[in-house]
């Protein structure tokens, strides 16, 4: 993430927060008070800090997922479906083998299965894009809904919990929550998911910056034709990129459904999936940037309940702020353009000013000059003709 990109992101955040403040004022609330409750709610003590980290965990992973696909020029809007499927498969393993496997092995299997499930779910749009040039946005959205309905019917059918709309809770051994981590954050619901997320950030940064695969993926993203000309298989890279992105989303599902939560609700498309787009965009598709922006969004989401409890500001303000930030981040590409336009206008204004100061003199001069230049041009042309003859 270079300096310009970070400046853009910071600018977008500031503008988003200002827009949020305006909204708070508009409904007659005190924006300073609102924000102070929002940030205090997220960070006031160790427990709340842990909750914020846990809230940010799936966002880090979905952000990485979207950002990774972006690097190859793909827009992975299928993160909700991949996340849901990854979480679903991990939950199924947890519910089925929860009591029979040693804990470490069980968790490893759940994490791997979750990641693989996400990768499989993303494989379909990737393959369709590579083989048939089907728009990955539309196919990924279709995959989202397919997964939504599968989970919708599979959970009440096979893993029904206390009510029709949720699954059984996974046993404590199958949860990513561990005692030492919970104790460390004095009873927060933070869990091993955060470790998965941090490892993922490092691995993805490594793949992108230090491996041939990462180089190829980025090359395809920059210029498909050039990459193909250089002997890279564009289609293969598209599929691989989507699968790695899907794997990350699947892990987000693992972190969400067997870490932060202990069961799955039906009829809900995980909002963290779409938020991943926002996270990635704000982090300029850079792993470290994504980590930072996910933590920031984690603060907004985790503090909004506290804010809502202490003021009369609806909790949706957090989502509105995030959406505004994304909008500003999307148009931040235009910032240099606007700066240039302003400079250009200033230059014109200056020129006009100069002109007005000596307008009478200049008019005469201009008349003279035009005559001069005409004769000069004529001379030039004859010169050229002369040269050619010589």
């Amino acid at each position: 993430m270079n300096k310009k990109e970070s400046l853009n992101s910071i600018l977008a955040v500031v503008l988003g927060l200002i827009a949020g403040a305006i909204l708070m004022f508009a409904i007659g609330s005190n924006a300073v008070e609102g924000y102070s409750y929002l940030f205090r709610g997220a960070l006031i003590n160790v427990k709340r800090g842990g909750d914020t980290l846990a809230t940010a965990t799936p966002l880090i992973l979905t952000g990485l997922s979207v950002g990774f696909a972006f690097k190859t020029g793909l827009f992975n809007i299928g993160t909700p479906g991949q996340m849901l499927f990854g979480g679903f498969c991990a939950t199924v393993i947890g519910l089925t083998y929860g009591a029979t496997m040693p804990r470490v092995l069980l968790l490893l299997v759940m994490i791997i299965v979750g990641g693989l499930a996400g990768a499989i779910w993303a494989f379909v749009p990737g393959l369709l894009k590579a083989k048939f040039n089907v728009n990955e946005v539309v196919s990924a959205i279709m995959m989202n809904w397919v997964c939504y309905w599968i989970v919708y019917y599979a959970i009440p059918g096979y893993f029904k919990g206390s009510s029709e709309t949720e699954s059984k809770s996974i046993p404590a051994e199958a949860s990513l929550k561990t005692k030492w981590l919970t104790d460390l954050f004095s009873g927060s619901y933070i869990n091993l998911g955060i470790l998965i997320a941090v490892i993922a950030v490092i691995v993805i940064a490594f793949i992108l910056n230090k491996t041939v695969l990462g180089y190829e993926l980025k090359a395809v993203g920059f210029n498909k034709s050039a990459a193909e000309y250089a002997g890279m298989s564009v289609n293969r890279n598209i599929v691989i990129s989507m699968m790695i992105a899907g794997c990350l989303s699947g892990l987000a599902g693992v972190a969400q459904y067997i870490g932060n939560a202990s069961n799955m609700q039906i009829g809900i498309m995980p909002s963290q999936g779409f938020d991943g787009i926002a996270v990635s965009l704000l982090g300029a598709n850079n792993p470290v940037g994504i980590l930072i922006s996910a933590l920031f969004f984690g603060v907004l989401y985790s503090g909004k309940g506290f804010m809502n409890a202490n003021t009369n500001i609806p909790p949706e303000i957090a989502d509105t702020i995030i959406a505004t930030i994304i909008y500003f981040a999307a148009i931040s590409a235009a910032v240099p353009m606007i700066v240039n336009a302003i400079k250009h206008k200033k230059a014109i204004a200056n020129a006009k000013k100069l002109q007005n100061d000596g307008s009478i003199v200049q008019q005469d001069l201009a008349n003279d000059e035009s005559k001069v230049s005409n004769t000069e041009k004529a001379n030039d042309i004859t010169d050229i003709d002369d040269k050619e003859e010589k």
């Binding site: 048939f132 040039n133 498309m269 926002a278 949706e316 909008y327 148009i331 590409a333």
Partner: protein, 318 residues
């Protein structure tokens, strides 16, 4: 069997119409060269604006007043157009990434409308007392088979929407405006050279899209849902798929949205139909989406996407 077909037909049509209007709006938008992924958001905005207007008007004008509903639809359309200015400004003037701008629209619409609803009414949901009621078209519903299917239990908005579709087909293919709009989506530099204001054409495209999507959102409200709740269950994305499925053509999207409408309705009512009762519900629910995927693969070779779609207009580019 005939009885069942007769029963589900009106529901399927009612479900198809909002999809159709949204996809039609997107058609204007994409034909002018701007990708609009924010359809879902515009529908939500329309549903919100319509619900708020209608519920307030019905309080003062009496709950049975249909004029209130028409005003609500109109307000929804105007608010949608205003909201779409955000997308237009970002993607036409500022050369922003159109997909991301659209995503921001989606997120903003979902959050902002619920935020406003909570602030204004105290609840994240707005119910309207009365919507339109299905009715039979006077003479035409007496036609033997067609009358039963097409002219019984129809909503007035259905006919308005079909009118808009026909008008659009005429506008896009038979008028100077339509030709210019399409040219901006294919080769904006050539249009510019021919003296067409590409920026204006694209603004018109995006605004029409915002207006029609919001109209569609309000139609959902006044026909089968009766409530605003901050979501349209991904119908906007489905409309986007229908646009591609329908190959960016008015009659194509009519067929595509009708396909979605019927497939979804069949899945919704399958439990009361003995012939379909044996198929697991999940298969029926997933069918429209899988079928779309297959259709996209099938049509991929002959895809007629507007060539300049998604590219910011740069008059200096060759």
């Amino acid at each position: 069997m005939w009885e069942i077909v007769k029963q589900i037909f009106p529901y399927a049509v009612a479900y198809t119409i909002p999809l159709l209007m949204t996809a039609l709006g997107a058609l204007y938008c994409e034909r002018s060269g701007v990708i609009n992924i924010g359809l879902d958001g515009f529908m939500i905005v329309g549903s919100f604006a319509g619900a708020l207007t209608i519920s307030k008007l019905q309080e003062s004008m009496g709950s049975g007043n249909t004029l209130a509903i028409w005003i609500g639809l109109l307000v929804a359309m105007i608010v949608g157009m205003l909201f779409s200015l955000l997308h237009a400004f970002a993607s036409i003037n500022l050369n922003a990434d159109q997909t991301i701008s659209g995503t921001a629209i989606n997120m903003m619409a979902g959050a902002l409308t619920v935020f406003l609803a909570r602030t204004i009414t105290g609840s994240g949901r707005i119910r309207i007392t009365n919507g339109f009621y299905p009715m039979d078209v006077p003479v035409l519903s007496q036609i033997p088979i067609l009358g039963d299917l097409l002219f019984k239990k129809t909503y007035i908005t259905t006919w308005v929407s079909l009118g808009i579709l026909l008008l659009s087909a005429f506008l896009i293919y038979k008028t100077r405006f339509g030709l210019r709009l399409r040219s901006c989506g294919e080769h904006p530099q050539a249009s510019d050279a021919a003296g067409i204001n590409v920026y204006r054409m694209r603004y018109i495209g995006v605004l029409l899209s915002g207006g029609l999507s919001s109209f569609a959102g309000a139609i959902i409200l006044v026909t089968f849902s009766g409530e605003f709740n901050g979501s349209v269950a991904g119908l906007g994305f489905l409309a986007l798929a229908a646009l591609i499925f329908g190959q960016w053509k008015p009659l194509g999207i009519l067929a595509a949205t009708a396909f979605f409408g019927f497939a979804t309705t069949i899945a919704n009512v399958s439990q009361v139909i003995p012939a379909l009762g044996s198929i697991p519900l999940v298969v029926l629910k997933v069918f429209p989406y899988v079928a779309t995927l297959l259709a996209l693969v099938f049509f991929s070779k002959s895809s007629r996407a507007p060539k300049a779609e998604g590219e910011p207009f740069d008059s200096g580019k060759r």
